[in-house]
């Protein structure tokens, strides 16, 4: 339990207004908003509730012991490329497994989707054998909630400097972070080539904000919890604010295995394992699932019953389908002088000139953003990050580490993934997790256009590095992915119950008091950074669900 206690406690038999399953990027937003709106809330989280004082920079322990993420030893997964292949046991994705979720330890890139992301199918036309479709809402519907996310969480950035920035009703609440050497090199070279780099919008605070102290530039964002509480995850924001209402209980170490229904087909609550392994049923008037794009469909598929033999809320047969990972083509290079990129935040400059490519011109569907970054801690860099042009052990390797570590930067593309029905989350009954529940099977094969888009972004990155007078540059191979960092699109939203799982109000088409709210509802992947959209959707969902509840329509 966290220092944030004491908090309101509910009994299992208390029929709370809302039971939220998963207290991450979305669940914690809903917990705060709904409890502030006067409702009683229990939020179940499978992971621990950590305080910033419990975080550390020990990269080996954090990774080896899965302190912040799903643990592949306790929660194994299987992977296959197509439904015709036999799945192999292997680690297939990573997600935040703790109160606050993945945003506690993400890079903190916080980009809005663009207007086109919501209406691609009608603007550009559908693509054969893909599920490219319009969203049931537009950018305009979501704009107020992007603004709310930026102001309530605390985002640093500079509005109005990118010609590609979508319209916004308010600037960022905090000025951008100081530029690093990678940002300077990237910005100068990209400008020479006629592009429009700009300060990265980041979910962390560059100055004191709402009682929180600013970033101290320690350099441990991605993969680590922020000891300063400066990263604008729900942990220093939504979570304590939800608890402070006196109407919200956050229950960590609560691993849900099934959503229960009554005979009328309404959700009555969820059964979960507590830390001791004991199973309990928490009762509620309505259930909101915010587990993420992998665990949300898994929970629905595990919650099958006589009423829903192929999985809860799955009359469309689409639960688990249209999984999208985004793509991350990486290039990098060595520079003459020291960059010391291990200091401060990972990203200070981005560009979005390639966000909306003309398929007729480039020959493929896709697009995305690009950032200059360095996300390598010493161990990762020495193990995987050093140029393959140098020996990987021995005296020359030592000398290369000495030369490269402080002088290296990378450019990362953030690309689109087309929604494909064959890319999916299913249950693998042959492999069980530590609780005896079926493992997740990931089926995933990038569409050829997603690969072409990555090769395009790599080529542009290599030109930028060349213009920046790089001494030694490299690109990581563009390959079909077998591991997901972004888990999107597995319970898509739409107006037609035959082609979607939930509606624009986040209500499942099949169960009136069951709502889904996380990355699983995304219809398209966007150009690479989905977190702000996921959280803006959670703020919007809170308003919609509140309105329904107040009208007595849940």
């Amino acid at each position: 339990m966290s220092a944030a206690s004491p908090q309101r406690k509910y009994k299992l038999t208390d029929q709370v207004d809302f039971l939220i399953i998963g207290c991450g990027a979305s669940g914690s937003v809903l917990a705060r908003e709904l409890s502030r709106n006067g409702f009683s809330v229990v939020a179940l989280e499978q992971g621990p509730w950590l305080d910033r004082k419990q975080f550390s920079h020990d990269e080996y322990r954090v990774a080896a012991q899965s302190l912040l993420t799903n643990n592949p030893q306790k929660q194994p997964t299987t992977f296959r490329k197509t439904p015709n292949d036999k799945a192999k046991k292997q680690s297939a994705f990573v997600y935040g497994r703790m109160v606050g979720g993945g945003t506690v330890h993400f890079t903190a890139n916080f980009w809005r989707f663009h207007e086109i992301d919501f209406i691609e199918a009608s603007k550009k036309g559908t693509i054969a054998r893909t599920g490219l479709a319009d969203w049931p809402i537009t950018y305009t519907d979501l704009e107020p909630y992007y603004t709310k996310a930026e102001w309530d969480l605390g985002v640093s950035g500079q509005a109005g400097v990118s010609p590609f920035d979508p319209p916004r009703s308010k600037p960022y609440p905090l000025p951008p972070m100081p530029v690093k050497s990678s940002g300077v090199i990237f910005e100068q070279a990209a400008r020479k080539l006629g592009y429009h780099p700009f300060p990265a919008p980041m979910a962390l605070i560059s100055q004191s904000y709402q009682g929180r102290l600013p970033c101290a530039h320690c350099g441990f964002c991605a993969g680590f919890g922020c000891e300063m509480g400066a990263e604008s995850s729900p942990l220093p924001t939504m979570v304590p604010q939800a608890v402070a209402t006196g109407r919200c209980e956050i229950r960590p170490h609560s691993y849900v295995r099934k959503i229960e229904l009554d005979s009328k087909g309404r959700a009555v609550g969820a059964v979960y394992f507590d830390e001791s392994g004991k199973q309990s049923l928490q009762h509620a008037k309505a259930v909101i699932v915010s587990c993420n794009g992998a665990e949300t469909p898994r929970l629905l598929l595990m919650s099958k019953s006589n009423q829903f033999p192929s999985g809860l809320a799955n009359s469309s047969g689409l639960v688990g389908k249209y999984l999208m990972f985004n793509t991350f083509p990486i290039t990098g290079g060595l520079f003459e002088h020291q960059l010391n990129e291990y200091k401060s935040i990972e990203v200070t400059r981005i560009l979005q000139d390639f966000y909306e490519l003309d398929a007729q011109k480039v020959g493929f569907y896709g697009g995305g953003g690009m950032d200059a970054r360095f996300v390598w801690t010493p161990i990762q860099f020495a193990a995987f990050g050093i140029s393959p042009h140098v020996p990987q052990w021995g005296s020359e390797y030592k000398q290369a580490l000495q030369k490269y570590f402080t002088r290296t930067m990378y450019l990362t593309g953030h690309g689109t993934s087309l929604p494909l029905e064959t890319n999916s989350i299913t249950l693998d009954e042959t492999v069980k997790d530590e609780w005896g529940l079926p493992a997740i099977c990931v089926t995933y094969k990038d569409h050829p256009d997603d690969l072409a888009n990555q090769r395009f972004l790599v080529a542009r990155s290599m030109e930028i590095l060349e213009t920046a007078k790089v001494l030694d540059r490299r690109s990581f191979p563009v390959e079909e992915q077998n591991y997901g960092f972004h888990l999107l699109g597995t319970c898509r939203m739409g107006n037609d119950p035959k082609s979607s799982v939930i509606n624009a109000e986040r209500r499942s088409h099949d169960v009136p008091n069951l709502f889904l709210c996380d990355g699983s509802s995304l219809v398209t992947s966007g150009g690479g950074q989905p977190t702000e959209t996921i959280q803006a959707l959670a703020f919007r969902a809170s308003d919609r669900i509140t309105a329904l509840a107040k009208k007595g329509e849940i």
Binding site: K53, D58, P178
Partner: protein
Amino acid sequence: MSNRRTFLSQAAASLGLLYVTGITPELFAQAHEHAKAAPRNLDGQPFRFFTPQQAADYEAFAGQVFPTDDTPGAKEANVVRFVDFALSEIEPQNKENFANALKALGEQAKRTNPEAKSFAALASAHQIEAMKALEKTDEFGTLRFYTIVGFLGDPADGGNKDQIGWKLIGFKDDFYYAPPFGYYDERLMKEQKEKA
């Protein structure tokens, strides 16, 4: 915790700089809460995972990944002590995997020189030859990865003694920095100042 004291005194010495760069005493104090855990000193303790032969073989291997040359190497960084601690305390589930990798190394040593009793007993040139033969295997990858962790990991886990690895690559694990961070942003700052 002597490490914490050292950290605090070093930090206090640079207070003047901090005011100039805009870090407030309040922020500074909060950064201090996270002074790192003391380095773990495992010198002279009995091995819990390694047999003496395994320890000798692995130390020879690690010494070829990070040789002791102009700068200290894996031996001085206590990499072998780190691995013994890590496999006993942090990742016991990887013991078997690691032992198998050492076995593969021993078998390769015999193929390289049938007279050799162990990898550690090979002449250095033969050790390098044996490692080159194994370079593409998972076993080699396992041994190399743990060597890197022991050389560049947090000294709190028993390796990277005296921050030997971090000093080599130019990394520091301070809890606060202020701009400029590197050459190129510093140059830009100067140019902007001159213009102003």
